[in-house]
């Protein structure tokens, strides 16, 4: 009898949860207000060096990417320099973190729990068997009932887990309390458009939805919803009900026909969320890595154009930014295969695995190169205009000369490709993409990230512009740790 009562209670609880699951996870925006909510402009720099803009981009790659990006954060915390108000860490100057998939766990945790970040994040996430936790939940009979309902899917179960054990019920509105940088951009992929979808209020305005009450765990879950393993995260698009949305001028300018495609297409597609005819009442989101696996496309738009809610180019024109440092933590791997040792073609799983990651890795390489080329061109353009002004002044004594604002641009890419030691690089390139890594593997990734940061010539150049007396902190990779992870018999 007791068993029957327990079963009934269990079923009742499941039915209640199923009923709750039928509701959309996002809420309607009462009335559009382009000034409030989680936006870059609403976050204060709180003591940041005003004219120094530091952007971090964290790639996907499961716990491997989370540990690698965490190591970069540790390195930035160790990067002490002498500023106007005494010694400070470069980490305090980070203005924006744009992240994808595994990197989104690091970014979101830092934004929410800054004081406990270095102490708590390894135990809370890096050393946790998230995959095992998800499997346990999937085996629970309560979740069988819930998963059988149309309003609850595997992604919702993952978001619940992340919310309970990692993000502790935090909502996006909590990122405004206090309202300080860095501005976190969690990137997912809109399945219909195949384009980036950001968890920012500027993006949610287009859905007439309020980002504030949404759990941060939902944003991280969407950003890391690897196709097949997790289902897409579904948002309700309330735009058909109206909210008085007014597109900003820069967006309507960018959406003018005839504009270059990289500016026109994203703007046109952003406005498509508001389309009344052939509208899209639901938006399905998958892993951000499908559109941009290093989270650098958004920052590139902000750096190179006005077609971004946080246009860096506009801030440069305003004279508010003199130095720009973009640090990319790219945890991509190049697993070795024996495909070419055999005449027989690789099997279907090998082909699917390659198709899932190969094109994105190439695209990521191109994005990093675009940022580098853009910075090189900008540095050259500034020099050309201002050298000309100096020559005119010297030759003709003319004082009123046209000038470009002086800005120094630095692009720092941290990836396993930059590891000089072939054996270590080979070891890192064969680490798995999963949400369960041995503690020592996470430890090795952290120290490799710090070592790459401190060894980067581009980072040295950036730091010496900020503080000419700066010197990198030495980083040693413990041979025992390396052997424990990279020995042929090691479990990775």
């Amino acid at each position: 009898m007791r068993v029957t009562v327990q079963s009934l209670l269990l079923l009742a609880a499941a039915a209640l949860l199923v009923a709750c699951a039928g509701q959309p996870i996002n809420t309607k925006l009462g009335a559009f207000d382009g000034t409030s909510g989680y936006r870059y402009r609403n976050l204060s720099s709180e003591g940041n060096a005003d004219d120094l803009l530091v952007i971090l981009a964290f790639s996907g790659g499961g716990t491997r990417a989370a540990a690698f990006s965490f190591g970069v954060m540790e390195g930035l915390s160790d990067t002490k320099y002498r500023g106007r108000n005494g010694e400070r860490a470069l980490l305090e100057d980070v203005d924006v973190i744009s992240s994808v998939s595994g990197g989104s766990f690091t970014a979101a945790y830092y934004a929410l729990f800054r004081k406990e970040f270095f102490k708590e994040f390894p135990g809370t996430f890096l050393h946790r068997d998230i995959e095992g936790d998800l499997l346990l939940r999937a085996l629970s009979p309560v979740n069988w009932v819930r998963l059988a309902s149309p309003g609850f899917d595997r992604i919702d179960m993952a978001a619940e887990l992340y919310d309970e054990v990692i993000f502790k019920g935090a909502k996006f509105s909590d990122l405004l309390n206090p309202p300080r940088r860095p501005f976190i951009i969690l990137n997912a992929t809109d399945m219909t458009l195949g384009h980036r979808f950001e968890f920012t209020q500027d993006q949610f305005d287009l859905l007439c939805s309020d980002l504030g009450p949404l759990k941060v765990a939902n944003g991280v879950a969407a950003s890391s919803a690897f196709p097949g393993l997790l289902s897409p995260l579904t948002l309700k698009n309330f735009s058909a009900e109206g909210c008085g949305y007014q597109a900003p001028g820069w967006l309507t300018d960018a959406a003018q026909k005839g504009n270059p495609m990289p500016r026109y297409v994203p703007a046109r597609e952003a406005l498509s969320y508001q389309a009344r005819e052939h509208g899209r009442p639901y938006i399905h989101l998958l892993d951000g890595g499908l559109a941009d696996n290093i989270g650098l496309r958004g920052p590139y738009m902000a750096l190179s154009s006005d077609a971004s809610p946080w246009s860096v180019l506009s801030r440069i024109n305003q004279g508010r930014v003199r130095r720009v440092v973009v640090i990319t933590a790219n945890a991509k791997t190049k697993p070795s295969h024996d495909w070419d040792q055999r005449r027989r073609a690789p099997g279907v799983f090998s082909v699917l695995g390659f198709v899932a990651s190969g094109p994105m890795d190439n695209y990521s390489f191109d994005t990093v190169q675009m940022v580098r080329d853009f910075f090189t061109q900008q540095n050259a353009d500034i020099k050309s205009v201002n050298d000309c002004a100096v020559r005119i002044k010297d030759a003709c004594g003319v004082t009123g000369t046209d000038q470009r604002r002086i800005v120094d641009f630095f692009a720092v890419e941290l990836s396993f490709d930059a590891v000089d030691d072939d054996a270590l690089r080979g070891c890192l390139d064969n680490l798995p993409t999963s949400f369960a890594l041995p503690q020592k593997t996470a430890g090795l990734l952290r120290v490799v990230a710090r070592s790459l940061l401190m060894g980067s010539k581009d980072f040295h150049a950036a730091m010496r512009t900020i503080d000419p007396a700066w010197t990198p902190s030495p980083v040693t990779i413990d041979p025992a740790l390396r052997a424990a992870v990279c020995a042929p018999s090691a479990s990775r």
């Binding site: 900003p248 001028g249 820069w250 967006l251 309507t252 300018d253 960018a254 003018q256 005839g258 504009n259 270059p260 500016r263 026109y264 190179s304 154009s305 006005d306 077609a307 246009s311 180019l313 506009s314 440069i316 024109n317 305003q318 004279g319 853009f374 061109q377 900008q378 353009d381 500034i382 050309s384 205009v385 000309c388 002004a389 004082t399 009123g400 000369t401 046209d402 000038q403 470009r404 604002r405």
Partner: protein, 77 residues
Amino acid sequence: MEHVIVEFPERREVFMGGVSQGDNLNDSGGYWVLPVAEGWHTFTLGGPKDFAPESQGVDVRGTTPGQPLHIVFTKKV
């Protein structure tokens, strides 16, 4: 990347697509050469509404840092 200069006889804040791009004039009395993305932009000025036109949409293409596009606002008398 394209380049523009916004001409007006006084120092004024320049707005492009509704977003400030700083002042038109630099401290030497010359103009700031503003880098902008290629394509359509709507320009206007801040301060008193004593300029014409009120705003202008311009398709910015084919400029260089040394040969920027001049966008001219005149002072109303």
